[in-house]
């Protein structure tokens, strides 16, 4: 059976969710026509982490433990992963395009003399008897163009995939194999970590947010619901002028001519009428969903999905639905 390997990043004693997302998405796409191997590196991999991996869809979990793998070092991680690849024959190797993944994946692809697609957002697999072909699609030219990339001549076919694109799902798979890869490393890195400090990421980065939940005059008195929804979906809350002027939110949440210009994957406009100065800041969003009880609201002129309904009433349902969904994943 053809093998697909997925690198699982462990950072700050937690598994990065993108690894779990990749296992689930690959399982959904290939079904049981390929053998899925999760590879996790670290100083120590606990029972809890193994169990966390087991439910999301792999056939096998390979664990590589060594003290030198505690904190990411390009040299050690590349060495161990390329050793593991040399032992198996992987048809496909996937990594999350986190900052670590984007450092490791290209280095590894050069060591393995194979092709790598960076920062893909769509994965497809062509499965035949003698080959699995990876078709990785990524945005290019600042998101103006999409390109589907293949790697027809070399193995493993590699791709790094953007975090947060795919849903984590639980699968019932029996007899998942857990194996320990014997790591041999010499402390010969030319790179030495002197100190580490946590970065406080309080600053709102509306312009780079992928999901924006925005509220306007229609929900101004219930703006906490807007924030709850943003939190639940892992996005950012934003506001139109009316909300900022009423001192309900700080100006750094403002979208529009005098605020931020945004182009998220989804812009959910709740109770926003759609004045020109607001629209100019968000019309480049990939998908605009507008909820407003006035069928003539200007926002519907730019919305891709237009729902005539009182946004104040929609929010509690949405919160409840999201919470239920979160409980499942």
């Amino acid at each position: 059976m053809k093998k697909i390997a997925i690198f699982i990043e462990k950072k700050s004693d937690k598994l990065a969710s993108v690894g779990l997302e990749l296992i689930s998405e690959t399982r959904r796409k290939v079904g049981y026509s390929a053998y899925l191997i999760a590879i996790v590196l670290g100083a120590q991999i606990g029972e809890e982490e193994i169990n966390q991996l087991k439910v999301v869809g792999p056939d096998e979990i390979v664990i590589a433990e060594h003290d030198l793998l505690k904190v990411y070092d390009t040299h050690y991680y590349t060495t161990v992963l390329s050793d593991i690849v040399a032992k198996h024959t992987f048809d496909v190797l996937l990594l999350g395009s986190t900052i670590l993944g984007r450092d490791l994946a290209p280095r590894l692809s050069a060591r393995l003399h194979t092709g790598l697609t960076a920062d893909a957002t769509i994965l497809d697999f062509d499965v035949s008897d003698d080959r699995i072909s990876l078709l990785a699609t990524r945005p290019a030219l600042g998101g103006n163009l999409f390109a589907t990339i293949i790697c027809p001549k070399t193995l493993p076919q590699m791709a790094s995939i953007r975090p947060g694109v795919f849903a984590i799902e639980s699968f019932d798979i029996e007899n998942i194999k857990v194996s320990h890869y014997p790591v041999t490393l010499v402390a010969d890195s030319k790179v030495k970590i002197i100190s580490r400090k946590k970065v406080e990421k309080d600053a709102i980065e509306l312009s780079s947010a992928r999901l924006i939940i925005a509220g306007g005059r229609g929900v101004a008195n219930q703006f906490h619901d807007v924030k709850t929804i943003a939190n639940l979906v892992g996005g950012e809350a934003a506001a139109s002028r009316a909300v900022i002027d009423a001192n309900i939110e700080a100006k750094d949440r403002l979208v529009g001519q005098t605020g931020a210009n945004v182009k998220p994957a989804i812009y959910l406009a709740l109770g926003i009428s759609g004045a020109v100065q607001h629209v100019s800041g968000m019309e480049k969003s990939e998908l605009i969903i507008a909820v407003n009880n006035d069928p003539d609201a200007l926002i519907f002129k730019v919305a891709d999905v237009s729902l005539v309904c009182d946004a104040k009433e929609v929010m509690p349902y949405l919160i409840k639905d999201l919470q239920a969904l979160k409980g499942m994943i």
Partner: protein, 261 residues
């Protein structure tokens, strides 16, 4: 310190728009700029030179029009520039590009190679680490700052999603820089004047040893199987719905994005 900076000329992607009727890119009138992460690398190199002495050399690969970028680099104070340009190199993916760059870099002397983290026209962030691997150099990527240099060791700050790490790296090494780490200087009058006539070195296929089978479109391990412009969702008619139904519709659209956190 002998410093080499890898630089790329790119279209200013923030100016690119889509013709919504034909679903194609409007390229007309889009200016070419120095890739911002690379320009930050040039600035860091010039700062290191003024503190510790040495030379700053830029290496770029691309069509002849990149000469205009070289004039700007000279105007900023870069000592010398190489333009690698040959029809045989066209169509190279990042792996083939890294093969060409690293093969050429083997003919130069250096203590430090600086590459921009990623280029705005590709966003792959692959060439830096691939060149480092092909030259068997240690790499430290995604820099927040270059702090200083002493006894063959460069101290840098690397930034990731949650931390800033202070790191010592023994040279020779390759580091990648981010546009937000500095504000590039402006050209000074003398350098700008001198830049107009200062020669650069054009490097063609055959000027340095490189495996012909590993370069260009044919030597690239990855291929573009198809491209398409953004799928524009058909605008739905304005529908009147009740709150419960609205929530379900919104949820279905949000669903693909909910694996996070």
């Amino acid at each position: 310190m002998k410093i080499i900076v890898l630089v790329k000329q790119v279209p200013n992607t923030s100016e690119i728009k889509i013709d919504k009727l034909t679903n194609t890119l409007i390229r007309k009138g889009v200016e070419s700029i120095i890739n911002p992460d690379d320009l930050a690398g040039v600035e860091e190199a010039l700062k290191l030179k003024s503190r510790y002495g040495g030379t700053v050399t830029c290496v770029t690969m691309g069509p002849f029009q990149a000469e205009s970028m070289i004039r700007t680099l000279y105007g900023l104070g870069v000592d010398h520039a190489y333009l690698i340009s040959d029809p045989k190199f066209a169509g190279s993916d990042t792996y083939a590009t890294s093969t060409i760059l690293s093969s050429f870099l083997k003919t130069l002397e250096y203590d430090l190679i600086i590459a921009g983290y990623q280029a705005i026209d590709g966003d792959t962030a692959q060439v830096g680490p691939q060149v480092a691997e092909m030259l068997e150099l240690p790499q430290v990527g995604h820099l927040h700052a270059i702090c200083g240099y002493q006894d063959g060791v460069l101290q840098v700050e690397r930034e990731d999603e949650t931390e800033i790490l202070t790191i010592d790296v023994r040279l020779p090494a390759l580091v990648t820089t981010l546009r937000r780490m500095n504000t590039p200087r402006l050209m000074n009058a003398w350098d700008a004047f001198r830049a107009t006539s200062k020669p650069f070195t054009l490097v063609r296929f055959g000027d340095f040893p490189v495996n012909e089978l590993k370069i260009g479109l044919k030597g690239s391990p990855t291929q573009v199987s198809k491209t398409y412009t953004k799928v524009l969702v058909q605008k739905a008619p304005i529908e009147k719905v009740d709150a419960k139904e609205a929530s379900k519709k919104i949820l279905a659209l949000l669903y693909p994005y909910l694996g996070v956190k």
